[in-house]
Symmetry: C2
Subunit: 419 residues, 2 copies
Amino acid sequence: MARIVMKFGGTSMAGIERIRSVAARIKREVEAGNQVAVVVSAMAGETDRLVNFCREASSLYDPHEYDVVVSAGEQITSGLLAIALQAVGVPARSWLGWQLPIRTSDGHGSARIAEIDTTALNKSLAQGEVAVIPGFQGLAAGERVTTLGRGGSDTSAVAMAAAMKADRCDIYTDVDGVYTTDPRIVPRARKLKRVTYEEMLELASVGAKVLQTRSVGLAMKEKVRVQVLSSFTDDDAPMADTLPGTMIVGEEEIDDMERQLITGIAHDKNEAKITLTSVPDRPGAVASIFTPLADANINVDMIVQNVAHSTGSTDVTFTVPSADLARSLEVLGNAKGDIGYVELVHDTRVAKISIVGVGMRSHAGVAATMFKTLGERGINIQAITTSEIKVSVLIEEDYTELAVRVLHTAYGLDAEDAA
Amino acid sequence: MARIVMKFGGTSMAGIERIRSVAARIKREVEAGNQVAVVVSAMAGETDRLVNFCREASSLYDPHEYDVVVSAGEQITSGLLAIALQAVGVPARSWLGWQLPIRTSDGHGSARIAEIDTTALNKSLAQGEVAVIPGFQGLAAGERVTTLGRGGSDTSAVAMAAAMKADRCDIYTDVDGVYTTDPRIVPRARKLKRVTYEEMLELASVGAKVLQTRSVGLAMKEKVRVQVLSSFTDDDAPMADTLPGTMIVGEEEIDDMERQLITGIAHDKNEAKITLTSVPDRPGAVASIFTPLADANINVDMIVQNVAHSTGSTDVTFTVPSADLARSLEVLGNAKGDIGYVELVHDTRVAKISIVGVGMRSHAGVAATMFKTLGERGINIQAITTSEIKVSVLIEEDYTELAVRVLHTAYGLDAEDAA
C-alpha cells in the first residue's frame, strides 16, 4: 500500500464531466489499495473571475478580504469532487484549509505554508476515506483565510505530500511530462523519464511552465517525489505509477547509466537587454546602476561588463524581464547623473537559451560545445551566464528556434524514432 | 447610538456596481453613529449555479459537501462588500460562519441556528468596524459547514440581531414593504407602516413572499424589531430609520388608534381541492383518509366534512399543495379499500383567500362580513378555515382578483389618494 497525493489543475476541474473523469482516475488508485489525498484547483477561469471582482470593487483591495473571495473557487471544486467520488462508491470528504488546518504565514495573497496538522487527516485516511483538499488556501494567525499566490495549488500538493509523508505526489497537468525541450520547436524532443529537482528549477525558471517554481523548491527541500502526468489520457489508461509521466527526484536516484550530459534546453523570449555606454570605470560605478534597480524591485538577470576603453570608461549590458523594461528605463534615466553614462540603449528582440543538466558538473567542455555549435550557424552571443548545472546565452530573438534545434542535436537529445 | 443589522438579498449583491451602492447606504448608517452588522446573500443566480453543480455531480449528493459548495456564494459577496466598504473609507471585515462561529444543528442543507458567539464580533463593532456576515451559513458539530436552506439569509439576519441585541434588523428586499394586499391586483393597496409578527406569519404562509416564514417566527420568539425596506430607492434617500418601509413588531407596539380590524388580504392559487364521496359515516373513517397522507408527508390544509347523508355516508373535502396533488391521488387510490369511498374527485382551479388581522380577536362579525361580501358578488365558498387572527375561504380560481378587490374595499383598506 502506498500513500499518495494527487493534484488536479483548473482544466481538469472545468465542469462536472471532467470532475467525474478525475473521480474515476482516483477510484483506480484507491482500488489498487492506496491511501489517497487529492489537492484541487478552482475551475479554469474561476479564479480570474473572482480576482476581477476584487479589482473592480477596489484597486486597493484588502488582501485579507481578497483571500476570502478567491479561496471560494477551490472550496467549490473540493465539495464537488467529494460528491463525484461518493457517486462512484469511493468514500470521500473535503477538508478546507481552516479545517485541517493548513497553517501559513500571514502574507495574505501570497502566504507561505508553515505547518499542516495531519491528525484528523490521518484518521480519515486510515478509515479508507479519500481526502479532498482545496489547493491555494490556508489559515493565518487570527484564524483568517489566506491564499498562496497564483499557481499555489502545486505548492499545496507538495506540502501535503511532505506533511503526510506520502510516497509520491502526482501532479496532473495539461502536458504529459517534462521534455528535453519545447516539442513545438523540436518535434524530436523526448519526454524525460526522470529529472532532478535542481534541473527542474532551472528549466522552470527559464520558461518550461510545467510546475510552479516554488513547489519544486519545496519538493527538493522536503525530498518529495513529484510525478508530472497528463490529465487527458483516457480513463482506461494504466495507473499513475506505471503511466509514462516524468518523475522529479533527488540526484542520487538517477544512476550513472541514464545520466545525460545535458538534460534539457529551455528558451525565454521575455527578457529585454539594456546597455549603458561609456560608464566611468571607477569603483562604485556598477553599484550606482544596480542599486536603484534593486530598490525598484526589478530583477536583473544577465550582466556583462566590457573591458575598459582606453578612455577610462566601459559599456555595461544586462537583461531585465520585458514587463519591467519601461520602469527600468525610467529608473536609469533618473539616475543618469549619479551613474554618469552617455547613452541608454535597449533591445527587446533578444532571447535567452539555456542548457541544463546535472551531468555538466563532472564534464568539462559543455559550454564550449554550445558556443561552437551556435557559432557555426552564425548566431552571435550577446551575453553569457552560468551556474553549476546551467549555461545561458543571450542571442538575437529571430534565431531562437534554430538555436534550440541545433543544440538539441549537438547534445544528442533527439529521439531516435520520432518524426 | 443604535446597534443595527442590515440584510441585503441577492439582487442587491448582483455585481460590483450594486455592491458599491449597498456600501454607500451602509456608510450613511455608520456616519449617523450606529454600530452596524451586515448580513449578505450570494449574488443573484449564484446559489442556483452552485446547487446545479451539486445535482449534476450526483442526484444523491452528500449534504455535507453540498453545504461546502453552496456556502461559497455568500463567502464571495461578504469579502467583496468588505472591500467596497473600505474603498469608501468605512472600516470593515468579513466574518465567515465558522469564524464567529454561528453554531447550528447538523441538519445539513437545512440546519437551524443554535447559538451565535458574539465575543469577537462585539470587540470588532466596538472598534468601529462594520461586520460583514455571509447569510445562510453556519457551523455544525464536527466543525463542518452547514447551510440553513433556501432563503435562510433572512433567518441569519434575525438571529444575528437577536444575538447582538440589536435595536433593529433592516431587511432590504425587492419590494419596499408589506402591503394590505398584492398591489398588482389592487392598485389602491396601501403599504403598512406596522404589522405584527403573527399577522406577518399568516400573510407569509398564504403567499405574501416578502420574508422567509422561519425568520418571522424567530423574530417573534426573540422580539427582534424587523423592518422591510426596498434596496432600490436612490442613494440620496433618507436613512433607514426614517425610510417608509414596514416595521414588523410585537402586538403591544401597535396602539389602538392605528389598529385596523383587518390588516391584509392574501391569496394563494397553489392549492388543489380533493373530494372523497360517500365515505362511510363511522368512527375512524376520517383517520383512514388522513393517516396515509400524513405518512406520505403531504400537508393537508382546509378540511370540510359534510353532514351525513341519510344513507349513513358523507363527503369529505380538503386541500393539498398543488405540487403534491398527483402523489395524494396515488396514496388515496391505494387506500380506497380501507377508506371505502365511492368517488375520488379533484379540482386545481381553486384559490384560497385569507383575511388577516389581530384586530379580529376583539371584534365579532368579521367573518360574516367576508361571507356576505363574497355572496353579494355571487362567489361561492367551497371551504372555510379560521384561526384566531385569520379567516380563509376556498373559492373558484377565476374569482380570485374580484374577491380580493371587493374584500379590500369592504374592510376599508383602500388608500384614499391612490389611483
